[in-house]
Every structure is written in structure tokens, then in C-alpha cells.
């Protein structure tokens, strides 16, 4: 049976420092993906992640288990990456969006000439991947937490400290950006074929 995060944490706090390696192995890949999506730079992301793991280790005795370890840890990753962006002078992660409910009430666009989209093609996945890599970090980070980490709105709020409206807005815009990119690509493909 797989050991739970809580059991590993208890072992670490009781002096088995090496058990922490198991916790690192368990969370490093998803956390690295989040860091890369936030910083858009692999080496900076790895450095930030290493820093986050060391900080988490030192703060482990103060971990109150009100949330899961992953949520608590992602908050540290988010803060470390946020500090890195601050140093760069390009941090818009924590800016609170002006809540625009009208935007969320957007009706389904009526595309008269809808392209044929191959939903399960490699091409489709590639467009999504490429669009995420160039997406503004404030959107791609929320998108990653929601889809990849499968966090709830409450968990994202706990990690980022952003209000619910901002989280919802960013997630909505990120998805609309992906949708637009996909439709644009397949429309262009259709035009090329027709030409």
C-alpha cells in the first residue's frame, strides 16, 4: 500500500530526514510543470522549485494539515515563482482583475463557417501545448492548477490568494484563448485546402 503524504511528513518530523526524498519524488514533476508555466524558463523554474522544496522542508513542523500537502506546497512554489517574477519586474500573477461578469456571460460565438476540427489529432494537442507555452503566466498558471493539478476553485484561491472572481475570469480567458487558437488554426488549414 502506498504511504500517504501525512505518514511521510510524520517520519520526517520525527527525525527521518531521508524520507523527505520520497515526498520530493512524488511532487516534483507536477510542481515543475507549474513552475515552468509560470516562469517560462526551465532552468529558472528548476532553481525556484529547489528553493521551494528546501523552504517547505524547513517549514514542515509548522504545516498544520488544514489543507493537503500538495496545496500547501504549491502555495510555496507559487510564492517563490512570484518573487522570481518580481525580480524580473514582470509579475502580474497577483494583480487582481477588474471583475467583469459580462465577460463570463459571453454567448456562444456563431461561426457560420466552422472548420472541421480533428479533436483527437496530434495537431490539436500540439496547438494547445504551443498556446499554453506562450500564454500570459497569470492565465497558464491557473489553467495548470485547474486541469493538471485538478485543484478546485477553493484550492486555487488558497494557493494564489486571489479572489474567486479573478480565478474564474482567468480560467475563462485562458480557455477562450485556447479555443480561438484552435479555431484559427483549423480555419487556416481549411482555407489552404480550399485554395
Amino acid at each position: 500500500m502506498k504511504t500517504t503524504d501525512s505518514e511521510i511528513i510524520r517520519r520526517v518530523i520525527n527525525g527521518d530526514q531521508r524520507a523527505y526524498a520520497e515526498l520530493v519524488d512524488r511532487h516534483k514533476d507536477k510542481a515543475m510543470t507549474l513552475a515552468v508555466r509560470m516562469l517560462k524558463n526551465r532552468s529558472e523554474a528548476e532553481e525556484a522549485l529547489q528553493d521551494a522544496f528546501v523552504r517547505a522542508y524547513r517549514a514542515l513542523p509548522s504545516f498544520e494539515r488544514k489543507s493537503t500537502f500538495s496545496t500547501w506546497f504549491y502555495r510555496i512554489v507559487f510564492n517563490v515563482c512570484s518573487s522570481t517574477l518580481n525580480k524580473r519586474g514582470s509579475n502580474n500573477l497577483l494583480s487582481i482583475d477588474i471583475e467583469n461578469d459580462d465577460e463570463l456571460k459571453t454567448e456562444i460565438p456563431s461561426d457560420d463557417d466552422e472548420p472541421d476540427i480533428e479533436l483527437e489529432s496530434k495537431e490539436f494537442s500540439e496547438i494547445v501545448r504551443r498556446e499554453i507555452s506562450v500564454m500570459e503566466e497569470s492565465y497558464s498558471s491557473i489553467l495548470t492548477m485547474f486541469f493538471l493539478q485538478e485543484m478546485s476553485y477553493e484550492e486555487i484561491i488558497s494557493v494564489t490568494g486571489l479572489p474567486l472572481g479573478t480565478v474564474k475570469n482567468r480560467l475563462f480567458r485562458a480557455r477562450m484563448q485556447l479555443r480561438t487558437a484552435v479555431l484559427r488554426h483549423f480555419s487556416e488549414m481549411k482555407q489552404m485546402v480550399n485554395a
Binding site: L49, I117, F124, L143, L148
Partner: protein, 185 residues
């Protein structure tokens, strides 16, 4: 029944739409190919994001983190033993040389002409004078010690003592490092 907004369709896909509205939207989707296409697109986007390859850190990432947390954790006792072997070998070498010189004593100073043997000669004269000055103190014990040294059990005793001292030196070096690291942490 009101047509769903984009946000409602997204919430429908996520399963976070209010139950009552969820049922209404479900009915609308079942009768509208356009809505069905939109749902398929949203679901595919969700799958694509979830399946988007994870970005892996470098292979030695975990050991780098652990090295920062526990600086000496990779240094096993054997690793420390090898690391400190140069000091130990130097110590053993010095002790051996002293032993050889002591063992040779005045006997090794015959027929000498070069600089080295001259220095040994001077050493042997010092050695003789020191031995002579202490001889009347050590005389009562010399015979039994000599007897022990020549017996086979005595040789074992000396070997045992030598092994014990070497063990003490090695243990001291290792424990110093080991406890130092623990206290530091």
C-alpha cells in the same frame, strides 16, 4: 429555456454547474448539434491540457534538494573513511618510521659514513644516554616486558594494542565528522 453561455458550458464540462441549470443545459445540448460540437471542443481542450507532457526536472534533482537539506547525507562511513585515509596513512607512516628507528636503535649505526647515518649516529648517542639515564628506573620492569614481548601471546597482545589504537584513531576521525554534522543540523 435560456441558451447557455460559454461560462455555463465550461462549468457543465467541469461538472460545477448548479444541478437545476445542469439539467436544463443537458436538454439543450441534446437537441443542438452546435452545442454538442462546442462541448466536444471544450472536453478535448481539457484532455489536451491534462495530457500535455509534464515538464520533468533534471535526473539529480532530488539528490540536489536532499544535499541542501542534509549536507553530509551522502557521506557514508566508508566514504568518510576513504576521505580521511590520507591523514591516516600519514600517521601510520610516521608511527612506522618511529618504530623502525626505535627498533634499530644503536645497532643500526655501525659502519656509517654518509649524512643520513651520521644523523642516525647522533640520534643513537642521544638514545643511549636517555636509556642509560632511565635504566635504573626501568631495570626492574625490563626483564618481564622483554619476556612478554618475546612470547607468542605477547606478540598477540602488542598486535591487539596496535589494532586498538588504530581503531581509536579511525573511530575518532569518523565520529567527530558524524556528530559534528548532526549537531550542525
Amino acid at each position: 429555456m435560456k441558451n447557455p453561455t460559454m461560462q455555463e458550458l465550461m462549468e457543465y464540462v467541469d461538472g460545477t454547474l448548479q444541478p437545476l441549470r445542469y439539467q436544463e443545459v443537458e436538454k439543450l445540448i441534446s437537441t443542438s448539434p452546435k452545442l454538442q460540437n462546442e462541448i466536444l471542443l471544450l472536453k478535448s481542450m481539457r484532455t489536451a491540457v491534462q495530457n500535455d507532457a509534464l515538464v520533468f526536472p533534471s535526473k539529480k534533482f532530488t539528490s540536489h534538494v536532499m544535499k541542501e537539506i542534509i549536507p553530509t547525507q551522502q557521506e557514508s562511513l566508508w566514504f568518510q573513511l576513504v576521505k580521511n585515509s590520507s591523514n591516516m596513512f600519514a600517521m601510520v607512516l610516521v608511527l612506522s618510521m618511529i618504530g623502525i628507528v626505535l627498533a634499530l636503535g644503536p645497532a643500526g649505526t655501525k659502519n656509517n659514513s654518509n649524512l643520513i647515518t651520521k644523523s642516525i649516529e647522533s640520534y643513537s648517542s642521544t638514545y643511549n644516554s636517555v636509556v642509560e639515564s632511565f635504566s635504573h628506573w626501568t631495570k626492574p620492569y625490563a626483564q618481564p616486558i622483554d619476556h612478554i614481548a618475546k612470547s607468542s601471546s605477547g606478540k598477540f597482545l602488542y598486535l591487539g594494542l596496535a589494532a586498538f589504537f588504530i581503531f581509536m584513531i579511525v573511530d575518532g576521525v569518523l565520529n567527530k565528522k558524524y556528530f559534528h554534522a548532526r549537531i550542525k543540523h
